[in-house]
Symmetry: C2
Subunit: 341 residues, 2 copies
DNA sequence: CGCGAGACTGGGAGCGCTCTTACGATGCTG
DNA sequence: CAGCATCGTAAGAGCGCTCCCAGTCTCGCG
């Protein structure tokens, strides 16, 4: 290996060049005061001349900070890049982190081996804190990290206790969608649920069921199908539903992407939307307005989720405290043509 | 700040607990031989008991490795997550990196401040190497990194010399598309180019022009419009082209996403595809087969670009050599209905 | 003019780890 | 059984940086 990976000077060398001590150079480089203008000048000149860049690894070793924050999204790349939820989330997160001058680092483990490597990476102070979204099942990662004393904030309600998170009221959101469908006279309301090993998925299904129950309608397993939060899944689920319950007159999909898939299946089956079947999606992403017809959808403040996650994490990092906090954001039903707008 | 960020034991402590020296623990932890089975056992027990995880920052300081690789994509989140190119690229990269047990870290600077922070991050050995795609204009980053002795591989031909890169033969690809359009009898062939501050964009435009020239057709500025590699851009560019040259009978779009946008505009304008206007896209992404009609497209081996980038980088990292190498991959025209299949 | 308070600056310890060197303890060869 | 190679281990020297703790220097005031 070539010497020092070509990395130029060290603090020491700058100090010698400027004729001062290491400590003084450190002060100048870190912008602390208590350095005379003259000294500062000559140090800066030396820094410049030698093309000095502080070695952040060495710095991190002593400060125990890296000034970077990890965002972990354990999803296959096609889903990660295919779901309109993530860009909006990342936008929110990166806004706040950028303002705080923290480097955002995105990690997307693709398999078991990746996950193990990731855990090692995160466990050992490679990031000041960790943001976690799209958790499946009983992922032990947030708990493990928290136990290590590493600040963690989860997007969506995590399965475990004692962990900070930002969530939207998914039960309420789904409930409002179902109430709306019932209010426009629909009685055979089906649902295309998301991945049920995720709390978002489970919560939205719960809201759907609660909506039927409070309207005095009976739950029918034939009216429930899962689409795993994917467009193709929505398409497939809709076909299944039509097979199992041809007389359904409404469907609540737990994401716009799945709703878009459902629209395709409905069209193929010759059903008119909303005349024959009313459709409501979830998230109110850009997809909702670009489908034919435009989708009614439960709007959630996706960017704000991201911002809030970042804020919570930064607060934890700064304070060194590990108090679990929850933030639950509200949703709003947006009615468009797909449910008779 | 709480002590040591809650991070448990150190090598030293494990050594004491196991009644051996630091060096021996280090050997066990790193799986080196030259340790007797007995000693190994007792060390492992101590590691386990104390919940020891090596501090990688400390390790990196001495080894000058981090076992992580950065992938930099300077695009706004909507584009990053909206273009089907990136998931495929990332899939390829992450395959190879994962096999080599390297952590992939994704960085997407959103503005000038982000870019400066990023540069500082990369300059200081936070990653063993850097993969760079979607470069715009004369981005100095690859050159700066290379000068520092940091391994860099660029996806697409970089503007500067002396830097390793993986590219597809964009000129040739575009040329084959145009030849095809001409071969099916089209004479008024327009193009929707990508961002021209990117070499991919410029190269594909070059291929288009070369195609016209070699067929003895004259270049006409009214037949060229830019769509910035975005769907909306494709839509807009197509409208412009129809305004400026209503008699055009074919269009070559420098990406499938733009071609999809173009199809929308054509439909809105009442033109039939391919009868009135033949369309060819570029990339042969999943979009190509899901449009109506399916798109002819220049197929490029996107995952393979990713794999090859990762391979080149790993070779550089391992060897410590900094020899600039170029890999240029071939394209293949796939003909579907949009150009008369 | 002496002295204390600041303002600057330097020295040194140490973050947690790797790696080279050195040194007993074995084991093997002739 | 001497002599030497080999193995297993320990000790120590850093990696480049921060930060505490003094030490020096300069003023201003009595």
């Amino acid at each position: 290996m070539t010497r020092a990976a070509g990395n130029g000077a060290t603090l020491e060398e700058v100090a010698v060049a400027a004729g001062v001590s290491r400590a003084t150079v450190s002060r100048v480089v870190n912008g602390l005061d208590r350095v005379s203008p003259t000294t500062r000048q000559s140090v800066l000149r030396a820094v410049d001349r030698l093309g000095y860049t502080p070695n952040r690894v060495a710095r991190s070793l002593v400060t125990r900070r890296t000034d970077s924050v990890a965002l972990v999204i354990p999803e296959p790349t096609t889903k990660l890049f295919g779901d309109p939820f993530f860009p909006r989330l990342v936008t929110g997160i990166s806004e706040v982190l950028s303002a705080a001058n923290k480097q955002l680092v995105l990690l997307a483990p693709q398999n078991k081996a990746d996950e193990e490597r990731l855990q090692r990476y995160l466990m050992t102070a490679q990031a000041d804190g960790v943001l976690l979204v799209s958790l499946h099942g009983e992922d032990p990662l947030p708990g493990d990290l928290a136990r290590r004393g590493i600040p963690v904030v989860v997007g969506g309600r995590p399965p475990a206790e004692g962990i900070s998170y930002v969530d939207v009221d998914n039960v309420q959101g789904a409930l409002s969608a179902v109430r709306h469908l019932i209010s426009i006279g629909r009685r055979k309301v089906a649902t295309i649920s998301g991945a049920l090993d995720m709390t978002v998925g489970a919560d939205r299904l719960e809201g759907y069921r609660r909506g039927l129950r409070e309207a005095g309608l009976e739950l029918d397993p034939r009216l429930e199908a899962s689409g795993a939060f994917e467009q193709e899944g929505g398409r497939r689920a809709m076909s299944e539903l039509l097979d199992r319950a041809p007389d359904l007159d409404a469907v609540f999909a737990a994401s716009d992407l799945m709703a878009a898939g459902a629209l395709q299946s409905l069209r193929r089956a010759g059903r008119r939307v909303p005349e024959d079947v009313a459709v409501v999606g979830y998230e109110d992403s850009s997809i909702a307005t670009s489908t034919e017809p435009p989708l009614s959808s439960v709007r959630q403040p996706t960017e704000e989720i991201g911002r809030e996650m970042a804020r919570l994490l930064l607060a934890d990092v700064a304070s060194g405290q590990r108090v679990a906090r929850r933030v639950v954001l509200d949703t709003e039903l947006i009615v468009r043509e797909s449910s008779g707008g």
